[in-house]
Symmetry: C2
Subunit: 197 residues, 2 copies
């Protein structure tokens, strides 16, 4: 009936995500996108309304991938504290380049600010999903008496998530992994003074 599309939309979206993650929204030009995706401008516009829609789709993809990775880790058969540590590691260092790029969601929230509702809806979604995962693991740690501070699992999850945000800022500002890990060690030591190794 008609000419079929020659490029893989998911692939292009994924590559665009990498680009936006690395350079941010404003600093990524459409030419950057056509170069990395090898898809011509008009073909992208045929699928995505404009640069912003492509960005929002890329951001949602990032959230889905990240949350899926953390959920996977939370379902492993290790102790709750080890799970928490693994989740933090994965959130901060999901792959090789992440140290330079930081967290796409944090970068984005900071770039767009408090006024952009669509962006902030996405960010809140990620925050709540990550906190839900953290809370579940923390609760199981409390049930096994590994975490005995008097705070609720919800409070601790929000607290830990916040510490992660801070670490993601450090990451982007070029702090060494050792510096970041020291902060994280302190954080864990405060949550589980007896059992944080």
């Amino acid at each position: 009936m008609s000419r079929p599309r020659e490029f893989d939309v998911d692939r292009a979206l994924c590559q665009s995500m990498e680009m936006f993650w690395t350079k941010g929204f404003k600093s990524t030009s459409f030419e950057d996108l056509t170069r990395t995706t090898q898809v011509k401008k008009q073909s992208l516009y045929g699928v995505f309304k404009d640069k912003r829609e492509l960005f929002l789709k890329a951001l949602a993809l990032y959230r889905e991938q990240s949350v899926a990775m953390l959920e996977e880790l939370a379902s492993q058969e290790v102790s709750p504290l080890q799970k928490l540590k693994a989740i933090c590691d994965a959130a901060l260092y999901p792959n090789e380049e992440a140290m330079r790029r930081g967290c796409f969601m944090v970068n984005t929230v900071l770039e767009f600010g408090a006024d952009d509702q669509e962006i902030n809806r996405e960010a809140e979604l990620m925050y709540s999903q990550v906190e839900r995962i953290l809370e579940k693991v923390i609760r199981s740690g409390q049930e096994r008496q590994l975490i005995t501070t008097r705070q609720s699992s919800k409070e601790l999850a929000a607290f830990l998530n916040n510490a992660l945000s801070g670490a993601k800022v450090m990451e982007k500002s070029g702090a060494s992994r050792e510096q970041i890990d020291e902060v994280l060690r302190t954080t864990f030591a405060l949550i589980a003074p007896e059992n944080a190794r």
Copy 2:
């Protein structure tokens, strides 16, 4: 000898800082700057080499002002824990608009990323100055047995500073003050379980 300058450089720098703080580097156009400062383009160029130099000066000014404010708070005659709380409050809510703008330094680090050495030198300077202040207060809290966790003052200062970074991200992402304060309460409760009210 020659015609004297008509505008106040410090005043223009301060106004530029507000602008950059609100909109970031890339999103602030030179026209934004000439409008808020009421100084014509060429006059600004007469004092500052280019937009970037003006930005760097504004960033340094922000750091100086912020650190001075925190130092002032640290020298008040109240208990160390109250001091810490006051410092955190001042770091997060230095004035009315800060909730929307977040922290200029965190915003900047996230905008420029790990590659910009000049920016990161400035950020590291602020980090180290703030941590030095925090550490001093924490140490006095330890000496008075108000803080009895086993971590060193240096570790706790880095940890607290990191929690502040996280809170600054929440701030910029439009979280409510109540949400932020809850995280901060948890943070203080973990540092000083007995004495954090």
